[in-house]
Symmetry: C2
Subunit: 143 residues, 2 copies
DNA sequence: TGACGATCATTAGAGCTCTAATCTAGATTC
DNA sequence: GAATCTAGATTAGAGCTCTAATGATCGTCA
């Protein structure tokens, strides 16, 4: 089966282009794509646990742990024990984290707007629908 | 800008699902997705250089070097100096590499067929076209 | 001949990602 | 009350990925 017939190849290429562009535009902000993703979901869910944040970002807890460790070393986030559940660490943005996030978000949104501007409303909806069906069939095929 | 409006989020989720499924079906064959990709292009381009293989797979030469090192340790490939260009290493599948590749390919193609079967010809063409436009605009946006 | 440029290979270092395993703490159940 | 279950955090280890830098080789061109 030739690569050009494989939908997966096209999907992968598109995602690679997305990752490369996001990575490039986030570099001046001093964040990786994974770090931006974590801060983005964190900014809308202050005090969330690392495990919950991992679920939002679609990664595993150890992966999120790695990312958070780097963010904490740079003082962009802080993690404090939960009042009741002593086992849970609440994660929050610091003031500096909020500032870096605002800068990075502006850059990332610029890419998203450029991407969205390429398509009509109908095309965007069509693309989202097709991608959704890809996810559904792929999850069904998982052993 | 909410995540659900970001085309990038949908793209990323689809690619994550693809990667997770491919990774799961390739596991019994003993290959990672990156290793399968390398062997696949290698099977159609025997004697190719690592740098050229990296270009085919869409990764950097050091990345391909890492992947090839692991494949070589498992004796799935062999690398011999080029006759004339002493600096170039020719990479080839071993007999065992060919066998592993055949097994892995059957599993991977099964996923691709399931994915393709979800769509009509028109839908497939539409998806490929939309993804292609994504790549174009993303590469244009790269600083 | 010698300098330059292109291509390839490789190393070093940082970061992301996973699986598997372990540890803790709270909740449930018997 | 004790065993079990669930959920979160963490460590260990393997693998992929990148950028940056280095070194080797070949071809071209002055």
């Amino acid at each position: 089966m030739p690569a050009s017939e494989r939908l997966g190849s096209h999907l992968k290429r598109a995602e690679q282009a997305l990752g490369a562009t996001k990575s490039a535009v986030l570099k001046p902000a001093g964040l990786t794509v994974a770090q931006y993703s974590a801060l983005l979901h964190l900014s809308g869910n202050s005090g969330i646990s690392a495990a919950a944040l991992a679920r939002l970002c679609g990664v595993t807890p150890p992966t999120m742990n790695t990312v958070l460790k780097n963010l904490q070393e740079r003082a962009l986030i802080e993690r404090t024990p939960h009042e009741w559940h002593r086992n849970v660490l609440e994660t929050r943005l610091t003031d500096e984290g909020r500032a870096v996030m605002a800068d990075a978000d502006a850059r990332a949104v610029r890419v998203e707007r450029a991407l969205a501007a390429e398509f009509t409303d109908a095309e965007r909806a069509e693309l989202v629908a097709l991608l959704g069906r890809c996810v559904a069939v792929l999850e069904r095929e998982r052993p």
